[in-house]
């Protein structure tokens, strides 16, 4: 190829991206395109404090970088096609390796009682007001479940489970490390408890498949963390009440957690709410029994959650529907600006289904709040909720049982590396009950910023 032609071709390729990206960005902001909403979320990474010209200049530099990233990454032409084509190639290569290695590692096939027929089954959950699997009247034919290793570096790894059609995230740390981490979490929970006498403590764990008894029946080549859950329960002080989401069958896995996201769905969360309030009711009947809420499906939403989109395995074809609680009977509340019934109306009116499969509907519907005040309650009880994104989906309805509720979510309310002494907050706000509501990796091992050692300063 002559040099001029080669230069022309290469320069043309670069110029197309150079010129088209800002046009696509402009059309996304002012026109019909939506390139900015459904992909990477770039935020300004560094913020320089102070009111000096230098800090203003540096902040301008940082904002410019964020702007350029948004334009020249999110808005490049054919971005979706480029990403999905490489993802497909990665998937194909993974399947080849998996088909060779997995049979060597696979244990005997396990037949289980319940049969699952795929993503469409989630649409059958309308009007279901409680979680838990239904008793089967007839024994269905046995099912051979198998896992496909999708990628990861050990912490974590990602799998697809067929024919359940779910994605799963699996922690791969070594045994000794997990034991040390679990022991450490327990020690510091007990310290916190001892430092705040007279307060009722409750712990609820959002269970992952990896802590369940069925884990090794569904996933090959990874170790269950059920022994650490059992260790945690055994060593927890008897005056701290504990409960967790049950995942005893493959159907539980499908019914209670999203197929493509690492969170529990509203069926699992609502069951969790019921278990939590029942647990607390035994000590404090004034908070009342769990309220019955109807579960409704938001129409026209199909999404790929964190596992599906982030790892890039939308090619598996799994997808989730989105269900919410009908909270129209919820009493009035203040303390924050989140109007859950307004959000409910927006979702049901279709104002959110325009965002497409990559949008995080879970986090959009359940943004974290710091405080709730239910002025019409007169229970005399105030709650401190130490939670994470699992707690977000039921914080409002839990808070509705208390006069005031204070919510801390590490590492967002308090940065992960900061030690925050909770004694003062508990005393100042007349906290009567503390609920620790976390998903398992955080509760058992302190992952992702939830290190209980940082709950007291001494």
């Amino acid at each position: 190829m002559k040099d001029r032609i080669f230069i022309a071709v290469v320069c043309s390729i670069l110029l197309i991206f150079f010129l088209a990206s800002p046009v696509i960005a402009a059309l996304s902001v002012w026109g019909p395109l939506d390139a900015l909403n459904t992909k990477n979320l770039f935020v300004t990474e560094k913020i320089y404090g102070g009111d000096t010209p230098a800090s203003a200049l540096l902040n301008t530099v940082e904002e410019t970088k964020t702007f350029l990233r948004n334009v020249y990454i999110n808005c490049i032409p054919f971005y979706d096609s480029l990403v999905s084509s490489v993802q497909s190639a990665e998937m194909s290569m993974l399947r080849v390796t998996d088909n060779v290695v997995r049979p060597i590692l696979t244990r005997d096939s396990v037949s289980v009682l319940q049969n699952d027929s795929g993503a469409d089954d989630t649409s059958d959950k309308t009007d279901k007001t409680g979680g838990g699997s239904e008793t089967q009247k007839e024994e269905p034919p046995p099912v051979d479940y198998y896992s496909i290793f999708l990628g990861g570096n050990g912490r974590p790894n990602f799998y697809a489970i067929e024919p359940l059609k779910v994605l799963e995230r699996v922690e791969g740390a070594r045994d000794k490390e997990l034991e040390k981490l679990a022991e450490r979490q327990l020690r510091h929970i007990h310290r916190l408890r001892e430092a705040t006498p007279g307060i009722n403590y409750y712990i609820y764990m959002g269970t992952r498949l990896q802590e369940s008894a069925i884990f090794n029946d569904l996933i090959t080549g990874a170790d269950s963390t059920l022994p650490y859950l059992e260790f945690f329960i055994d060593c927890l002080d008897s005056d701290i009440k504990f409960d967790y989401m049950r995942m005893d069958t493959p159907e539980d896995r499908v019914n209670k957690s999203f197929r493509t996201d690492h969170h529990w769905n509203i069926f699992g969360a609502y069951e969790g709410y019921q278990q939590i309030i029942n647990m607390m009711y035994e000590d404090s009947p004034e908070i009342g029994r769990p309220v019955e809420y109807e579960i409704i499906q938001v129409p026209d939403i199909k999404w790929f959650g964190s596992l599906g989109s982030t790892i890039g395995h939308n090619d598996m074809g799994y997808a989730d529907n989105f269900h919410i609680l009908d909270t129209s009977s919820l009493p009035r509340y203040g303390g924050n600006n989140y109007r859950i019934n307004d959000m409910l109306a927006s979702f049901m009116n279709g104002e959110f289904n325009k965002f497409g499969v990559g949008f995080d509907y879970y986090a959009a519907y359940n943004p974290p709040q710091d405080k709730y005040v239910f002025p019409d309650n007169d229970t005399g009880r105030n709650l401190l909720l130490l939670g994470d994104s699992y707690s977000w989906s039921i914080t409002t309805i839990i808070a509705s049982h208390f006069d005031r509720t204070y919510c801390h979510n590490r590492p967002w309310t308090i940065p992960a590396d900061v030690t925050y002494d909770y004694r003062e907050l508990i005393a100042e706000n007349e906290i009567t009950d503390v609920l620790i509501l976390l998903y398992s990796s955080r509760l058992l091992f302190g992952y992702d910023g939830t290190d209980f050692a940082r709950m007291l300063t001494d």
């Binding site: 290469v10 670069l14 290569m93 570096n153 989109s309």
Partner: protein
């Protein structure tokens, strides 16, 4: 900003070449554009440390002027010493002060506060680069650069600012004042850039997944058995070569497209038949720097044997230290120092079996990379012992759980190894180029490689859910 960043490829680089094209007939304008764009390039990562760059330019520019004006040899020496001390002090403070204080605390039992200083990107490269200017000025090997903007353009030119090669001033002194870019130069530069980008994105980054997964993932290296440990180190050997060589290709390519002829930094190092041969082929700009500015002034090999050994160990200690403020880098440098000393005496006795010598050299190199890559002495010993079979032959379950047994990554590593074989690396392209339409086929291949690299970079940029951290 990295060369393999989409913002660099689609915004920075096209804008840069557009600007230089507009002012293609004005050398001052082109040098100003290089300076301005290079500051922007650097500011992308570390805006505050631009001040350090400006300080370095200013001090060394002044040193150059003083060296030019001072007729007296002792005054010239004083200026040189002052400039070198300044440059090394700057490097020492930002790169080594924490390491020094940590070790003082360990040895003395004191508890001195260890400062946490962020390392300015590229400081090791540009400090050495500007020292070469001052030293060559002292030796009267180059003329003074009276224009501080030109000197700045030489020092901070973005193609080699953060990852080399270390460009001696004398290499491009004339081109700073007078240069042109022919169509052939620009085309060569583009081709070289695409080759470098492909090496980095398609081979190095994929090999890195295996190396990092096995060495830095959630599972200990001892769990994988000898096969896993060797896979890790072979992957790392491929990664480091294609990463660094890829970057050098991109730097040389962009330099050529700008009218500069940078020297080669690599010459097929994995074809070496000894460690000595390896170091004539690997990171040539660094080894020649130490040779010309440390080893030879110390006397080189024209000294008694014991003094020569001291010179060698000093140079290799400094080489290790240059790579990082950590004991494993020092150990790595001394490892090669000892090997090279031994080879000086023993090479003549080795059998003249090419394959055996080549394999031995590769073994020595890979052991060296093991020391280089593993950040602690315990990890070094664990990895080496596992490579020797201390933890068994293979643990397939652990390897599977590590996520590295992916045909995509293994294919990239195999391609990387194949690319080191002379028949594939040079003979095949030469034969193809000689055939009718062969050159066109190669160029089409390059364009496909560019598009594939863009696709892989797009995939790598895709991280839509910060909420996943929740």
């Amino acid at each position: 900003m990295l060369f393999s960043d989409l913002v660099f490829l689609f915004f920075f680089l096209p804008l840069f070449f557009l600007c230089t094209f507009i002012f293609k007939n004005s050398i001052p304008a082109k040098n100003m554009i290089i300076l301005a764009f290079s500051f922007v390039f650097y500011a992308w990562g570390e805006p505050v440390y631009i001040l350090l760059l400006i300080l370095s330019i200013a001090v060394n520019y002044a040193a150059g002027l003083l060296l030019d004006m001072a007729g007296n040899k002792s005054r010239r020496k004083a200026v040189l010493v002052g400039a070198v001390i300044f440059n090394l002090a700057l490097l020492g403070f930002f790169k080594y002060i924490g390491f020094i204080i940590e070790n003082i605390n360990v040895i003395s039992g004191l508890a001195l506060p260890v400062p946490e200083i962020e390392l300015p990107i590229g400081i090791s490269f540009y400090t050495f680069q500007i020292m070469s200017y001052v030293i060559d000025m002292y030796r009267s090997e180059v003329k003074v650069q009276e224009n501080p903007l030109y000197l700045g353009a030489y020092l901070v030119a973005f193609p080699q600012l953060i990852a080399g090669p270390i460009v001696r001033y004398q290499t491009i002194a004339e081109e700073l004042e007078e240069r042109s870019v022919s169509t052939e130069d620009f085309a060569y530069g583009m081709r070289r850039f695409i080759i470098g980008l492909s090496k980095k994105v398609l081979i190095a980054n994929q090999a890195a997944v295996v190396a990092d997964g096995l060495l830095s993932g959630g599972i200990e290296i001892t769990s994988f058995g000898a096969a896993g440990a060797w896979l890790a180190m072979i992957a790392y050997s491929v990664q480091i070569y294609y990463d660094f060589n890829g970057y050098s290709d991109m730097a040389i390519g962009m330099g050529r497209a700008m009218g500069f002829h940078y020297l080669e930094n690599f010459k097929n190092p994995y074809q070496a038949d000894s460690a000595s041969d390896f170091w004539r082929r690997w990171h040539i700009s660094l080894s020649t720097f130490f040779r010309d500015y440390v080893y030879i002034p110390m006397g080189g090999n024209r000294v008694p044997v014991h003094r020569w050994i001291f010179n060698m160990l000093t140079v290799w200690l400094l080489t290790g230290l240059w790579h990082g403020a950590s004991w494993n880098f020092i150990l790595w440098g001394l490892y090669f120092g000892v090997i090279l000393i031994a080879e000086k005496f023993l090479l003549k006795y080795r059998p003249k079996i090419k394959a055996l010598n080549h394999i031995t050299a590769l073994f020595i190199i890979i052991i060296g990379w093991t020391i280089f890559r593993c950040e602690s002495l315990s990890l070094i010993s664990d990895t080496l012992l596992t490579m020797l079979g201390a933890s068994g032959l293979i643990d397939l379950k652990s390897l599977y759980a590590s996520g590295t047994l992916n045909l995509l990554y293994i294919t990239a590593i195999i391609c990387g190894i194949a690319g080191c074989v002379p028949a594939i690396r040079t003979t095949l392209p030469s034969k193809l180029r000689a055939r009718p339409g062969g050159a066109t086929a190669l160029d089409i291949g390059l364009i496909m490689a560019l598009l594939l690299s863009i696709a892989v970079l797009a995939r790598g940029s895709y991280n839509p859910f910060i909420y996943f951290r929740f």
